[in-house]
Each structure stands twice: as C-alpha cells, then as structure tokens.
C-alpha cells in the first residue's frame, strides 16, 4: 500500500498545509529527525540490497570474509540452468496456486456471511483471526501432528471413512505441498477475512435498502452489489497473497524442510540452503536477485493498479 492508513485512529480531519516558506528554514531539524530511522534504513535495507546485487557477481562465501573472486554472470547462468532452481520456482508457484484461490474465496464467503449475522462476531473473529497472529512454528507443530502418518488425526479420519491405508500427507511427494497449503490456509485466512469485513463496512447500507425495496433476493444483492463493490479489496487481497506466497519459507522449512526429496523446496529455501549449507552466498545472492525482481515487479504492478483505482474512484 502506498498510503497505508490506520483510518479509525486518524485524528480530527484537518488538512495540514505544510508550513515554512522560502529557503527551507527547516533543513537542519528535519534531517535530525530523519537521521535515526534513516541510518537503519540505509544499513539494513539499502546496503544489503546493494551488497546482494554486487555479491551476485562474485564467488562470495559465508565461510570467508570479503567478496571472493569475480564471477561475472556465472552465478546467474548457473541458477538459470539449474533444475533445482526451476523446480523451487515451480514449487513456489504451486504453493501460490494452491493457497490463493481458497484464501480469497473462503475469506470472502466467511466475511459476507459474518456480515449478515448479528450476534457472535467475537466468536468468528476468535475462530478465524487468532491463528493468523500465532507463530508459524506453532502452526507447523500442530499440523505436522495432525498429518502424522498412521495414527494422526487426519489419518484416523481417513481410516474411519473406510480408507484402510491412509495417505501420509507430508511424507508423500505428491501431497506434501497440499498439506502445507492446507495449514497455510488455516493459518492466514483470518487476515483476508478482516480485510473483507472492513471492505464490507464501506458499502453504503442504503444500496441494500434500495435493493430490498425493489424486491431483490439476498443472492442478487451479493451478486450485483457486494461482489462488484468489493473488487478493490479483492485485488488488494490477491496481490498481498501472491507476494506473501512468493516469500513462503517458514511453513515449508518447519513442516517438510523442502522434502520429501526436494518435492516442496521453495525459492527462499533454495536460497538459504545455498548460502548456509553450501556456504555459497554469491550464488545465493544471484537467486535472491531473481526472486527480488519477481516480487518487486508484482509490487510495482500493484502500486500502478492502486493508483489507477484511486484515479477512477
């Protein structure tokens, strides 16, 4: 979000014209106020970004200090021709495709339903939102246990339903990513749920009243009022979801460590493995740059979309 708002907390709506006049008399205090944050910004965002780009052209290793020998485009060439790199990108995409549609659709449905129910709002928020603020480690420990082969909750459920040899979800390369996706959907749905609830409140009640007088069914109201007016929230939710999915690491690391084999290895897992297990941070930087570019491209598209929507709004 280019202009993040904590809207309900906003002070009295008084537009503040920038004071001060000719010749920037506020130069010195302004820079003093900016300096502390600026130093951290430069040290921990700008400098690492620059260093990542530079070291991607060197044989840098975390086992030795300094950049190491110049490698040219060799790191990039290696990554772009390496099957592991493409399979990790594919798994990242796979994760995105498994999680985004359910997270958007379910969150939308739950929010629309919750908006029609007068009582028990606290209960729905507790049920759907609390998982979102829990550590990924807690989520993973719970779901690994649920998916435990032979006597876990899910295996038991399958047995009761008549499946004598239940699928060991996380131990099977064909279903491990689905297991991670299920845990992720359970974990993060609350975030989208809250965004949709907020979006629903921005829809003027009069629209529904007018529609009700015209004798529309609730379904028609959802179809012709709610869905179109929430399109802005939907595009926000989708883009945030895609960006978060590209950066997926925690659940995979904790639930399967990329396995079985490399069947769930994702981009950030490959990067950290290359850097911290193979000690090849130069090559890891090249992979980071590639992932960085993909995420940045999506973030920029989002900014442009948002600006477009603001203009047309």
């Amino acid at each position: 979000m280019s202009t993040p708002t904590i809207a309900p907390l906003r002070g009295p709506a008084v537009s503040s014209k920038q004071q001060g006049g000719v010749g920037f008399p506020e130069n010195k205090p302004a820079w003093l106020f900016l300096a502390p944050f600026g130093i951290f910004f430069v040290l921990f965002l700008v400098a690492p970004t620059v260093y990542m780009f530079i070291s991607s052209f060197f044989n840098t290793s975390i086992a030795k200090s300094g950049l190491g020998s110049f490698a040219g485009f060799a790191n990039y060439q290696e990554m772009l021709t390496k099957p592991e790199f493409w399979s990790s990108m594919w798994h990242t995409l796979q994760f995105t495709l498994y999680t985004t549609p359910p997270l958007v659709v379910l969150a939308f449905v739950f929010a629309v339903l919750a908006n029609r129910v007068r009582r028990g709002q606290w209960f729905f928020r507790l049920a759907f939102f609390v998982p979102f603020i829990l550590p990924s480690a807690t989520i993973s420990l719970i779901w690994v246990f649920i998916f435990a082969p032979t006597n876990g909750l899910f295996a038991q459920l399958q047995t009761w339903l008549g499946n004598a040899i239940p699928t060991p979800v996380l131990a099977d390369p064909s279903s491990a990513m689905i297991g991670i996706a299920v845990a992720t959907i359970w974990w993060t749905l609350g975030f989208n749920f809250i965004l949709y609830l907020a979006g629903l409140q921005d829809i003027p009640r009069e629209l529904y009243e007018a529609a009700a007088i015209d004798g529309t069914t609730p379904w028609q109201q959802i179809r012709y009022i709610t869905i179109p007016l929430l399109s802005r929230t939907t595009s926000l939710v989708v883009v945030l979801q895609i960006i978060a999915s590209l950066k997926v690491f925690d659940q995979v690391y904790l639930m399967t460590s990329g396995g079985p084999g490399t069947s769930t290895q994702v981009a950030l897992g490959l990067i950290t493995n290359t850097a911290f297990t193979d000690f090849r941070s130069g090559a890891a930087s090249a992979a980071s740059v590639l992932l960085f570019i993909v995420i940045l491209a999506i973030a920029i598209i989002r900014q442009l979309l948002e600006r477009n929507q603001e203009r047309t709004a």
């Binding site: 904590i6 029609r116 979102f132 550590p135 719970i142």
Partner: protein, 304 residues
C-alpha cells in the same frame, strides 16, 4: 480502505438492518431475508468450529500424558484424565524461559526503536519542509516494496562482518526500519491540527519539545496500534533469528520451537504443550487488544 472500525458493536449493519426499512410492503421478503440470515449464521458457525478444531486438538493433546498421546488419535480422544505434566516438564526444563526471554527482549527493544525512530521520521515528513524531501519520500516508498526476507543472506554477512552474530542485536537491528511505520505515523500526524503546535512554537518551544510534549501525547492510539503489530511481527519472525542466532541460550520462541520436533521425538504431549506455550503470550495480547489488532491489520494491510 478500512475507514470504519471492524468488529465490535456493529449491530444492524448490512441487510439485517435493511429489512426493517422495507417493513410492511415487503413482509414476505423480510421473512425470507431473515431465514437467509439464519442459514448464513449456521453455515458460518460450522466453518468456525472446523477452524477451531486444530487448536483444540493441540490443547487436548497437550493435556494428556506422553504415554497416552503416543498411542494415537483414539487414545487421545478417549482420555478423560487431563494432566498438566507436559507443561510442568517444559517449565522445569528451562529452555522455554530462555526462549521467552529472548523473544520478549528482542520484541520489546525493536518495538521501542521502531516507534521512536519511525514517529520521528514520520513527523519530519508530515510537518517540515526541507531540501530533498521528495527524494526521501520516494526512497521510503521504494523501501516499502523491498522484500526484506530476501535480504537475509546479505544481512547475515553484514552482521558477521561487525561481529554481531549470536547477539540479541542481530535479531533487533535489522527489524527496526519498518518503513510502513513511517507512513502510518505521517498519515496520522497529517490529520492532527497544527494550531497546538503553533501555540507551542509561539511559547518558544523547539521541534523536539513539540514532538515530545505535544505530538506524542496525542499519538497514543497510533503508537499502541503500531506497537502491537510490530511486537507480533517480531515475536513471530523465524527466518532472521534462525540464521543469525545459533546459540541455544539466545533462541527466540519460533527458533526454539523449530528444534522441538527433532529433540522431543515421540513426546507428542510435550511438543503440543510447547507449541501452545509459544503462542500463549500472543493469544493473551489478542484478548486484551482485540480491537486495536484487528483495526491495525485492516488499516495497514500489514502481512508478515
């Protein structure tokens, strides 16, 4: 977006309130709307219960003995003698206290620095006119788009170069520049009236005094919201502490929990008890600050 409060006290919003307006002429449609709303409530209730099952299952398992939970699902379901044994084991073990300490220190210090430096920068951007303001603004906007998680390798190397690996600082410092905080503060300050500051300036107060004694006292809501969100984010961060800290005494909750699966083996009750202990402070935080957390998340679109 999110210009209204989410949650509490939203009585009669949406169609449920629309129906009375159409009373009389639309009696049958009103009834069908009411039936529809009840169906909605039931469907949502079922989903909410499904959503609660994993947490309740972890809780139930943590309250059985390791001997019972090792026997599998039916034994845990059938168990009727809850025990706190696993929690007591954890508390006596000592590791969990180290993890709590590391998580509390790193989260609290990061929150303090982020709030202080973020609000100062936000104040400068909101109220002061200076050379290079547009460049600073553009840099910050660009900073929002930088995916911090991708920078873990260079940050590790940088911390190593200055010998900060395996310290709390390695976890704290990289998380301080949360650019979103600057924008949230700037936006909030933009909405504050300038008259009080002008009065203070006529009294001879400088920028620092105005910021400290006029602006900060007015900013409690935004400080609280940003503080809680930052706390939750830092507490839950796994990637950074996982790689910059290897000393078990300095491990934060997520990193400590990541070692549990391997070291506890088949002691499922202990594993689930530790996962619940790790989450407990956040659940308590949520119960106390429900509204602020929900509003903050809805308002900033802040996602880990």
């Amino acid at each position: 977006m999110a210009t209204t409060t989410v949650g509490g006290g939203r009585k009669g919003s949406g169609v449920s309130a629309a129906a009375p307006a159409a009373r009389g002429a639309q009696n049958s449609s009103q009834n069908s709307t009411r039936t529809f709303n009840i169906v909605c409530g039931v469907v949502l209730g079922v989903f909410a219960i499904i959503w609660l099952i994993p947490s309740l299952w972890a809780l139930k398992t943590s309250l059985t003995s390791n001997a019972v939970s090792a026997l599998g699902t039916p034994a845990i379901l059938a168990d009727t003698s809850p025990t706190l044994a696993s929690y007591l084991t954890l508390m006596r073990g000592g590791d969990i206290w180290n993890w709590y300490l590391a998580s509390f220190i790193t989260s609290a210090v990061t929150v303090a620095l982020t709030l202080l430096f973020g609000s100062m920068a936000g104040y400068a951007l909101s109220r002061m006119r200076f050379r290079g303001r547009n460049i600073v603004f553009a840099l910050m906007l660009a900073g929002i788009m930088i995916p911090g998680t991708v920078l873990v390798v260079p940050i590790f190397e940088g911390l190593g170069a200055v010998n900060l690996l395996n310290t709390y600082w390695a976890v704290i410092l990289p998380q301080v520049p949360a650019v979103i905080a600057v924008f949230v503060f700037k936006q909030f300050f933009d909405g504050l009236p300038v008259e009080m500051e002008e009065a203070a300036r006529l009294d001879g107060a400088g920028y620092w005094r105005i910021y400290r004694s006029v602006i900060m006292p007015l900013s409690k809501p935004v400080l609280a919201a940003m503080g809680i969100l930052t706390f939750v984010n830092v507490w839950n961060n796994l990637l950074l502490p996982l790689f910059v800290v290897s000393n078990p005494d300095l491990m934060t909750i997520p990193v400590g929990l990541a070692t549990v699966q391997g070291s506890f083996g088949q002691r499922y009750s202990d594993i689930q008890a530790s996962s619940i202990m790790g989450a407990l402070p956040l659940v308590i935080l949520f119960l106390f600050f429900q509204k602020r957390i929900v509003e903050g998340v809805a308002g900033t679109g802040l996602k880990g």
